[in-house]
């Protein structure tokens, strides 16, 4: 597979890609909206607060999606629109200013406040960009106000992170020199970030910045010489905005499993001219650990059939991992949407004839799933228990977004997540 650096900024970005048939479906989608990203983003950036401007449904969604609610006071909230706001009796901008003042009065520690648009705020065309601009005049530099939309009419689940990071790109400081610098794009668990940092240090790749940063006020710089290594497959708009800022994309598969992680690191190492033995030596200890860990689960997973319902955009990279490193068969790989620029390197690694599905009609997909009777079905929590009750083994997909699964040292953990339902069934006699 020949992966060339790509600096194109349009959707026509040409990367060699195989011609896999894709089933495109429309109908009921059993997926979260982009607001859900707040559940991890508000923990990732410790000085940021997410204020959804929306309805009671939005507030209820986020707290339900968070599942086990977090005991600490959340760094997110909802400005719930009421009848008065909709009837125009209250000026939405004045109301928003009042709520923001109330919020920042309570939480003066907040350095970045995201105003997050929702379905209702989009439909009534509430201009959050102008609102943010106006609020910035009052609060910046103590607090920076940014805005993005996490609405379900525009974003699905992980696209919320894309929209959030995208809103930060314009305020990233301009890179001062043209020297190459690596930027890892996409939220990673802190522990994974530290592992990658150590690997880049061993390789001699640097300086390295991570975007998003752990503190929203400590923004990484971007500009000519910035090399983008994308860690999450759902950052289409963010990556395009970064390209506009002069960065260069290093196309690579995503760092899931040994193969994905190696290819991902190699994309960076190549730019720094580190290849051959030096590269192999730097990664060898981690690869060997990962192989040992993975072997245990490959036995369980080998030859079993997996079926993916669309959810987080991680479906294609994970399917690639399960197929190539765990020996699983892919009966259907459903994903909310396919962005060729960010996905071609992954699609190229899928076995020939893999049934890809884009979008969803959940009832028809359930019919196909029942028909295929896979050994493991990857799906959202709304479907998991009902499918289990029908005798199907499931892996709920949200855990794949909420767990540290990137990189060598998590490769076995990733496989274990898929092996666990099988192992559980083996243990239970009731």
């Amino acid at each position: 597979m020949a992966l060339k650096p790509c600096t194109a900024t349009t959707k026509e970005a040409k990367v060699a890609s195989p011609n896999l048939p894709v089933l495109k479906e429309r109908g009921q989608r059993e997926v979260f909206c982009g607001l859900t990203g707040i559940v991890w983003l508000h923990r990732k950036m410790q000085d940021a607060f997410f204020l959804v401007v929306g309805s009671r449904t939005c507030a209820h969604l986020i707290q339900s999606a968070a599942g086990v609610m977090i005991f600490a006071e959340p760094r997110f909230g909802t400005a719930i629109l009421g009848d008065r706001d909709l009837a125009g009796l209250a000026d939405a901008n004045d109301e928003l200013e009042r709520v923001v003042a109330q919020l920042l009065g309570r939480r003066p520690d907040i350095k970045t406040l995201f105003l997050v648009g929702s379905c209702p705020s989009e439909v009534i065309k509430l201009d959050l960009a102008t609102a943010a601009e106006k609020l910035n005049r009052e609060y910046f530099p103590q607090t920076r106000i940014l805005n993005y939309s996490g609405s379900g009419i525009e974003t699905t689940f992980t696209q919320g992170e894309d929209a959030c990071l995208g809103s930060m790109v314009p305020v990233l400081p301009e890179k001062e020199t043209d020297e190459p610098a690596l930027m890892v794009v996409g939220s990673l668990a802190d522990v994974v970030e530290d592992q990658f940092q150590r690997l880049f240090d061993r390789l001699g790749v640097g300086p390295v910045s991570f975007f998003p940063p752990r503190r929203a006020a400590e923004l990484p710089e971007v500009g000519k010489g910035t090399k983008l290594l994308v860690a999450q497959p759902f950052l289409s708009e963010t990556v395009r905005s970064l390209l506009h800022r002069g960065a260069e994309l290093l196309p690579a598969p995503y760092p899931f499993g040994i193969e994905g992680t190696t290819a991902w690191l190699r994309a960076a190492a190549d730019v720094w001219g580190i290849g051959g033995q030096a590269f192999e030596e730097a990664i060898a200890p981690a690869v060997s650990r990962a192989e040992t860990g993975l072997a245990r689960y490959r036995e369980t997973l080998n030859g079993r059939k997996a079926f993916f319902f669309p959810d987080s955009q991680l479906e294609i990279p994970l399917a690639r991992f399960l197929s190539r490193e765990c020996g699983m068969e892919l009966t259907e790989v459903g994903t909310p949407y396919i962005d060729r620029m960010l996905m071609d390197a992954e699609i190229a690694l899928l076995p020939e004839g893999t049934a890809l599905a884009e979008g969803q009609d959940v009832e028809r997909q359930l019919d196909r799933c029942r028909e295929a009777h896979p050994d493991i079905t990857v799906c959202g929590l709304g479907l998991a228990n009902p499918l289990e009750a029908e005798g199907m083994s499931t892996k709920w997909s949200i855990e794949l977004v909420f767990s540290p699964l990137h990189g060598y040292d998590q490769a076995a953990d990733l496989a274990e997540l898929f092996a666990r339902p099988t192992e559980r069934r083996r243990r239970l006699s009731v």
Partner: protein, 554 residues
């Protein structure tokens, strides 16, 4: 616009989903954008339901908005009908669809489907979940029963005394608090007095069951937030009286039986006497081998048992839906001997009753759906036990207080595998256990009180039955102060902040203060300072502290 961190209630269409999911052969089509399907997992995860809720979402996206979203509604309704073949369809919209005004309910009614279609108009920007459930239940039942409503002036014929009276049990829903088990208890109570259950709805009912509802002699409004509206319509239309007492707690269960006696003309005297006659403290062979329900609760005897004297005057704070809060106030004060130090509800519709009850206890009710206001009220009241929703479980954990959940909203751990009703005799038993066990036991408490300095007593040490929070007491004391301070800051500055007033603590007074359990320390501190200020004392010594204690009491 209203700033919300956690919400006690979801939007009204989630209430409608609770009704639809409760029933069989009903399907609900919601005109809603992508993402609103999140609500499915409330049922499949919190209640571990083994089927998807019977709900179809149109899932429109931005690109559909310029086109024909009304056509999407019709397609979704037709597809859902063809696939699921329900006997009744509910059609409505979520908050976003309300803005685009496709009027899905009316559209669906115009499609000439061979089944009744209920048009659910649930204003998402002014109403909430329980109201949505109540309206849905009312409209669903009304739609199905309207053809059966008798002429005005109809009088119910006298019941043949040879025929056992029948009751409809209305209100239990999916995602309600312990509804599954409460139904069993209520049916047992009815059996004790010789009444048959006619229809239970919505939980477990089919549309055909609903059509049988007029056969009942009376209705039981088991969860007033959800069932009062439909019960009053049934009362008007079918002249079925409503039993309004909710049998939560021993006293209320007796009142419930009495009210059924009044409504049916059955003599319930013997049943009431039996409920008082036995301590259930005797484990004779005949008792332990009998499968008969005893017709009484162990709560009264357990409460009188001497080991329970330590429960006397335990300070309790209660918050939740109005039904469970009103019941909990009665149980804690009359049946467990606690002292009510705070009470409130998020059910604004029932605020009047809760306020009246609070007044009886010289309290001001907390009527709010702002979780932070509740947290501040809990911190201020310094209770020894919090009874609330899963939000209060969080609050209590943060403040280092024992807590039991008594009301929705709930989490997965509040849907136990074991039989654990709240209503009736067994419900009272469950309540005794669940509300007393989080507390520190009598002698344990004395030992900790006497030898607080023992290095093995962690501060904030609680009952051996209660999982103490992990953080240390200094953190919790701080959490209390922060909660109160934040809320005071958030309040409009109507009164000038209290002067520091020049009152200081002498080292001896401060040392003694430290010996007071941390969860009441803040309260004692404030009370003592107020006491000192009133007397013009500028330095608080050990003596001042005890003077204040003597005047103010525990």
């Amino acid at each position: 616009m209203e700033l919300t961190l956690w919400t006690y209630e979801g939007p009204p269409h989630v209430g409608a989903m609770r009704v639809a999911t409760s029933m069989e052969q009903v399907h609900y089509v919601i005109h809603a954008p992508q993402g609103d399907t999140y609500a499915d997992l409330l049922f499949t995860m919190i209640e571990r339901r083994d089927r998807r809720p019977p709900v179809t979402y149109t899932t429109f996206q931005a690109r559909d908005l310029g086109g024909d979203t009304a056509e999407m509604v019709k397609t979704s309704v037709q597809d859902a009908y063809d696939r699921f073949q329900p006997q009744v369809m509910l059609v409505g919209e979520s908050c976003t669809a309300e803005l685009i005004q496709d009027q899905p309910g009316a559209l669906a009614q115009g499609m000439n489907l061979p089944v009744p279609v209920v048009n659910l108009e649930l204003p998402a920007y002014s109403k909430k979940e329980n109201w949505g459930a109540s309206e849905t239940l009312y409209h669903l039942i009304r739609t199905l029963l309207l053809p059966l409503v008798p002429e005005p002036g109809f009088q119910r014929p006298e019941r043949d005394p040879q025929v056992r009276p029948k009751a409809n049990i209305l209100g239990p829903t999916a995602l309600g608090f312990r509804c599954r088990d409460d139904i069993q208890e209520v049916i047992k109570l009815l059996g004790e007095v010789g009444v048959d259950a006619n229809v239970v709805a919505p939980l477990g009912a089919t549309p055909d069951d609903i059509r049988r509802m007029p056969d009942a002699d009376f209705n039981i409004s088991l969860y007033p937030e959800i069932s009062n509206t439909v019960c009053s319509w049934l009362e008007r239309s079918f002249k079925q009286p409503t039993v309004k007492t909710v049998p939560l707690g021993v006293g209320a269960t007796r009142d419930f039986i009495q009210e059924i006696g009044d409504v049916t003309g059955i003599d319930v005297g013997a049943v009431l006497v039996r409920s008082r006659s036995d301590t259930l403290g005797n484990w004779s062979a005949s008792r332990i081998t009998s499968t008969e329900a005893p017709g009484a609760s162990r709560l009264p005897w357990y409460s009188r048992s001497v080991d329970s004297t330590y429960l006397t005057g335990k300070r309790v704070f209660i918050f939740g839906d109005a039904t469970h809060v009103l019941a909990a106030a009665r149980i804690t004060t009359e049946e467990l001997g606690f002292t009510l130090v705070g009470i409130g509800t998020y059910s604004r519709k029932f605020a009047r009753q809760v306020r009246a009850l609070a007044k009886e206890h010289d309290l001001e009710a907390v009527i709010t759906d702002d979780y932070l206001a509740v947290e501040a009220a809990v911190a201020e009241a310094a209770p020894e036990l919090v009874l609330g929703t899963q939000m209060e479980r969080h609050i209590a954990k943060r403040l280092g207080l024992p807590c039991a959940v008594i009301s929705t909203p709930i989490h997965v751990q509040d849907v136990p595998a074991r039989y654990s009703p709240q209503m009736g005799w067994e419900g009272a038993n469950v309540i005794f256990d669940d509300w007393v066990h989080p507390l520190m036991m009598g002698l344990e408490e004395h030992l900790i009180g006497m030898f607080r300095d023992d290095f093995e007593f962690a501060e904030g040490h609680m009952s051996h039955l209660h999982t103490a929070a992990e953080s240390n007491s200094a953190d919790m004391e701080k959490a209390v102060e922060v909660a109160i301070a934040a809320e005071e800051q958030a309040k409009p500055a109507e009164s000038a902040p209290e002067e520091e007033s020049g009152v200081t603590w002498a080292p001896s007074g401060l040392a003694e203060l430290k010996k007071i359990p941390f969860f009441v320390r803040g309260k004692v501190k404030r009370n003592t300072e107020k006491f000192a200020q009133g007397l013009g004392i500028t330095e608080i010594t050990v003596d001042t502290l005890y003077e204040a204690k003597a005047r103010i009491g525990k």
